[in-house]
């Protein structure tokens, strides 16, 4: 599988430094449907557009800026942004290790994977294996674009997972929601009894499957109603449906064709 790097730099703990690349751990957008142009069935792609010049803007003509007054922007270069925290823009320095069981999911934000770059493979394997054996995660701060993130790095099947965490300052107080009433032991024991009967192993796949079934049903009925449309030929663009769904649908399409 080809993974696209979002960031590259070094992850370090004490005196060991490992060159790594940050890659996606999540494919956004659930089951993917392509946005199409209603008139010519051509696929649509997201692009940055300049309303003044009425043109598409290539990445090298884009600069970040801060709005100082309505419609007036102060441009800030990538080099200037990197200068804000130069010690953190290319380095993920693990400052503490913590017990994984102490991590509160309240803080979890976005997950990524780290993959080793050339020369870092062995140190990477050591860090992943030692964290797996000790059930620990490393805490670090690092800057991605203009944002600084507190992150936890853990080992998942010997792959380093990086999860950005919310800062304590961003966590709202829950004090107002604490219930005041006393609780009943009999009721608690009854609830615990129900919970025990409903214990299972966490199997997230089955919920994804149920959702996938629903979408497949819809596509099946669509396939019966009308033939697929053909997009005009253009230069290849990225993006396609999940392969397992495509395979399932090919089957359906064959059946539909037979009936016609």
């Amino acid at each position: 599988m080809v993974h696209q790097g979002i960031w590259s730099g070094t992850i370090s703990f004490s005196l060991v430094a490992i060159p790594v690349q940050l890659v996606r751990a999540v494919v956004p957008g659930r089951i993917t449907f392509r946005l199409l142009h209603r008139t010519d069935y051509s696929p649509l792609t997201r692009r940055m557009f300049c309303p003044q010049h009425d043109t598409l803007v290539p990445p090298e003509e884009i600069i970040r800026g801060y709005e100082i007054e309505p419609g007036r922007y102060l441009p800030i270069t990538d080099q200037e942004l990197e200068s804000v925290s130069p010690e953190r823009s290319r380095t993920i320095e693990i400052v503490d290790f913590i017990d994984l069981d102490e991590m509160d999911p309240l803080y979890f934000d976005r997950p990524y994977y780290l993959v080793p770059l050339k020369g870092g493979e062995k140190s990477y394997c050591l860090l992943a294996e030692v964290m797996r054996q000790t059930n620990r995660a490393g805490l670090a701060k690092f800057v991605l674009a203009e944002r600084e993130h507190l992150v936890a790095v853990k080992s998942t099947e010997r792959v380093l997972t990086l999860v950005t965490l919310h800062y304590q300052d961003d966590v709202l107080s829950a004090d107002a929601f604490a219930p005041k009433e006393e609780s009943s032991v009999a009721e608690k024991n009854r609830i615990k009894g129900s919970i025990r009967k409903m214990m299972a192993a966490f199997d997230p796949g089955k919920y994804a499957d149920a959702r996938r079934e629903k979408v497949l049903d819809l596509l099946k009925s669509k396939a019966q109603e009308s033939a697929p449309v053909e997009a005009p030929h253009t230069t290849a663009e990225e993006g396609e449906g999940p392969p397992d769904l495509v395979a399932a649908l090919e089957e359906i399409m064959r059946e539909v064709k037979k009936k016609r």
């Binding site: 993974h3 070094t10 370090s12 703990f13 004490s14 005196l15 490992i18 999540v26 494919v27 449907f33 392509r34 946005l35 199409l36 142009h37 069935y41 649509l44 997201r46 309303p51 003044q52 010049h53 970040r64 922007y73 800030i76 200037e80 804000v84 925290s85 823009s89 380095t91 290790f97 913590i98 309240l106 993959v115 020369g119 050591l126 030692v130 054996q133 507190l150 099947e157 792959v159 300052d169 961003d170 966590v171 829950a174 929601f177 604490a178 609780s183 608690k188 129900s194 919970i195 025990r196 409903m198 214990m199 997230p204 996938r212 049903d217 819809l218 449309v229 053909e230 649908l249 090919e250």
Partner: protein
């Protein structure tokens, strides 16, 4: 704090019903930068561009399709997709309970606090039960025309609901195909000892976002017309594979 209720629902499993109100648990405010066109500093817009005509397509002219084979799409109207979403209901249905540690961090998406709705019963008892058994309830619900998968957990004296990502949205760690490099027992031993030395309790309040303040200072400086001194990012020299043991030993000495 006048907290606004996002949604109201009823947790349900076996004979238990607990009426709750959802509140946001996280609020993030960050300095927002915009993307500009370099030559004239005009703010750029994100547009959906037609691959054929190379021009922006307004929402009214957009439709959705599922690619059945290359370049061939089954047309699906956005409204029809909405119909696959189950009817709105107030139920937060718990399907099963799992040991808390089984839910990998990669699944967690968003957190909500649950406040007992007035006249709710069983709230405290559910909190205590979840704590004592160290479990989370895996549940589904429909909120604002979207179905959610979630984990119901206790935290202190309150309940929390976390939305979970679907498994098919998560890239499996083993699909990255990373090569396994053998590490010696000696390196592992020292590595473990080092990590034990560097382990501390999880105290999130210890970490503050210093960067945000510095970014604000940079913007103020630039706005006053001062030149910004460009600093080179710190780059670390990677530890060579044959120097790993040495680096670990030196680290351990430093930590002790």
């Amino acid at each position: 704090m006048a907290a606004t209720t996002i949604w109201k629902g009823v947790i349900t499993f076996a004979e238990t019903r607990v009426a709750v109100k959802l509140h946001a648990a996280i609020k993030e405010e960050r300095i927002g930068l915009h993307l500009l066109h370099r030559p004239d500093l005009v703010r750029l817009r994100q547009e959906m561009i037609c691959a054929l005509e190379k021009k922006p397509v307004p929402t009214a002219e957009q439709t959705k399709g599922f690619e059945v084979e290359e370049g061939k799409y089954l047309l699906v109207d956005p409204e029809e997709l909405e119909q696959t979403v189950p009817e709105s209901s107030r139920w937060i249905e718990v399907h099963e309970f799992v040991k808390r540690a089984q839910v990998d961090p990669v699944f967690f998406e968003r957190a909500y606090y649950l406040e007992p709705d007035f006249a709710a019963t069983g709230y405290n008892e559910l909190v205590e039960g979840l704590h004592e058994l160290d479990v989370a309830g895996i549940c589904t619900w429909t909120m604002r025309k979207r179905s959610y998968l979630g984990a119901l957990q206790a935290s202190g004296t309150i309940l929390r609901l976390h939305t979970l990502r679907y498994a098919d949205e998560v890239i499996a760690a083993n699909s990255l195909g990373l090569e396994e490099i053998p590490v010696s027992e000696r390196e592992l031993n020292i590595g473990r000892e080092l990590i034990n030395q560097l382990t501390a309790p999880f105290l999130p309040q210890k970490f503050v976002n210093e960067h945000e303040k510095k970014l604000q200072q940079l913007i103020e400086k630039k706005a006053r017309g001062e030149t910004i001194k460009v600093l080179r990012p710190r780059l670390l020299h990677p530890t060579a594979a044959d120097k790993l043991l040495q680096a670990l030993e030196a680290s351990l000495k430093k930590a002790a």
